[in-house]
């Protein structure tokens, strides 16, 4: 068991296992998807988006994106943030 754990650790250091093993989250195809993928996935996996759906309205998704910028320091330009919010509200928002 100990050896197996070491083996796993060796793999983890040889290649970034956390990234290699991460499942691909296929977001809905719609305008703004590229922006969301580019701006959000630097810090966290994209599963957070469908997980938090579909109960946030436009205001709710705006608050989430603004939290990422203002509280967590995500360097997202205003225009990109607006695109991301529009995509999230349209595709993962409250119906």
């Amino acid at each position: 068991m100990k050896n197996l754990w070491k083996f796993v650790l060796v793999l983890a250091t040889a290649a970034p296992a956390a990234i290699a093993a991460e499942r691909v989250v296929a977001l809905k195809d719609a305008p703004g998807k590229d922006t969301v993928e580019a701006t959000c996935s630097g810090c966290h996996s994209l599963d957070y988006i469908p997980l938090n759906s579909p109960f946030l309205d436009q205001q709710g998704w705006t608050a989430e994106v603004n939290k990422m910028i203002n509280a967590y320091g995500a360097p997202i330009p205003q225009a990109e943030a607006a695109k991301a919010i529009a995509y999230l509200a349209a595709n993962y928002g409250k119906p």
């Binding site: 796993v8 650790l9 970034p16 499942r23 977001l27 599963d47 469908p50 997980l51 938090n52």
Partner: protein, 408 residues
């Protein structure tokens, strides 16, 4: 009714494009509880982190995995089924025990220390504490209305035997100066971006000096799993998991309230909303206060939602109860939609911070469906609520929760 809602929620999820047939299978295998947002049923699937058995994977990076109901069949949760919760994705892939140290320092100590794992084992009395570690947001996914965040179901918690030195003994050795109001704890994990606030937490000096507040070097008699904070994490019994700093690397007493983001802006609840005894006075303001003790709660571990029985068949309901460290006084169970309640039999008492198992025997009445409800009361007389005390972060959900079985 509840079962219908559950099926509707699943139905709603299947209608969404991200809910692929493969995902559906995985979600079914995960046996997700009812009441979560529809999107959660598309995302939740069994996933396996290194050193762990399959857990319900909510997010991959940072990893957030909760234990399936089967992990709670025993009052101590196996290490490889213990839930995993991280805020930030800068997690060291491994920790070199030879290089790793806890720095005890800052203005608040006379003699700064750099403690190795061996120092912590050899130079201090080793104390064992059986305690529940529960995420503040456990059951957030069941909030009504739903609130953003990881949509935890029932399993963002676990109970273990934690063993290691007391924090107060470590601080005594470092010569803690008078005037400390809080102690600040940091771990080796951090943010992906330098602009994101590192996950750093403080505890009030009173809680730090409690004889049960320890640095755990062992969990259930084994090294901590990497994703539960290897090689050492802070144990703050009775208080929610946010204070249980993983991969602990620094301990710093301070004479002024710590003003980091994770104290000032996160993990806060409206002041006075919950009946907690131990509050965090130096961090409290008129509007909000840090979450502290867990509220009294229980879980029905058996039978499972939707389990089938024959009319007249004897059923043993089983579960766990816990609170913020006062101990469980009683668990009552109703099998008739809450009309009447009877005492369950409490199992072994592993201490006031641990899961308290309970069982209740009854005869399946039917045909039709029958709901089982359990309600725990602690030794302060606090009891679970019937209606959610809503708060925007989805904390402290201890609503009495029915399990519906089918009798044919």
């Amino acid at each position: 009714m509840l079962r219908r809602q559950f099926l509707e929620a699943l139905g709603g999820a299947t209608a969404l494009p991200f809910f692929s047939p493969l995902r559906a299978e995985a979600a079914e295998a995960a046996n997700l509880t009812y009441g979560l947002p529809a999107g959660a049923y598309g995302v939740g699937q069994m996933g396996t982190l290194p050193g762990k058995r399959p857990l319900i994977e909510w997010t991959a990076r940072p990893p957030n995995y909760e234990a399936p109901l089967s992990a709670f069949a025993t009052p101590f949760t196996p290490n490889d089924l213990f839930f995993v919760r991280y805020h930030l994705s800068g997690i060291p892939p491994q920790i070199d025990l030879q290089q790793w140290r806890i720095a005890v320092g800052g203005e608040g100590v006379a003699t700064p220390l750099q403690l190795s794992f061996q120092d912590l084992q050899r130079d201090y009395e080793q104390v064992e504490v059986s305690a529940v570690c529960q995420c503040s947001g456990s059951r957030r996914g069941l909030s009504e209305p739903h609130v953003p965040g990881v949509q935890w179901g029932l399993g963002a918690m676990g109970c273990a035997r934690w063993r290691g030195p007391r924090v107060k003994d470590i601080l005594a050795k470092a010569g803690i100066r008078p005037g400390a109001v809080e102690v600040v704890f940091n771990g080796a994990d951090g943010p992906a971006l330098t602009t994101t606030p590192d996950f750093v937490k403080s505890l009030p000096i009173g809680k730090v000096m409690d004889e049960n507040t320890i640095v755990a070097l062992e969990m259930n008699g084994a090294p901590l799993p990497h994703f539960n904070g290897y090689p050492a994490r802070l144990i703050a019994p009775g208080w929610t998991g946010t204070y249980w700093m993983k991969h602990l690397i620094s301990i710093e007493p301070v004479s002024k309230p710590f003003d980091g983001f994770w104290m000032k802006a996160a993990y806060r609840i409206p002041t006075g909303m919950f009946p907690t005894v131990q509050n965090f006075a130096t961090q409290q303001n008129e509007m909000t206060t840090p979450i502290t003790e867990m509220v009294v709660n229980s879980l029905i571990t058996s039978p499972a939602e939707g389990a089938r029985f024959r009319v007249g068949e004897p059923v043993t309901a089983a579960g766990l109860a816990w609170d913020g460290g006062y101990g469980i006084r009683s668990v009552v169970v109703s099998t008739d939609n809450g009309a009447s309640w009877r005492e369950a039999t409490l199992g072994e008492d592993s201490g006031r911070y641990a899961f308290r198992p309970w069982t209740y025997r009854f005869t399946a009445a039917g045909p039709g469906s029958q709901t089982i409800r359990a309600r725990a009361t602690n030794r302060l007389g606090e009891t679970q609520v019937e209606t959610l005390i809503f708060n925007g972060a989805g904390y402290h959900n201890n609503v009495v929760r029915p399990t519906t079985i089918v009798i044919a």
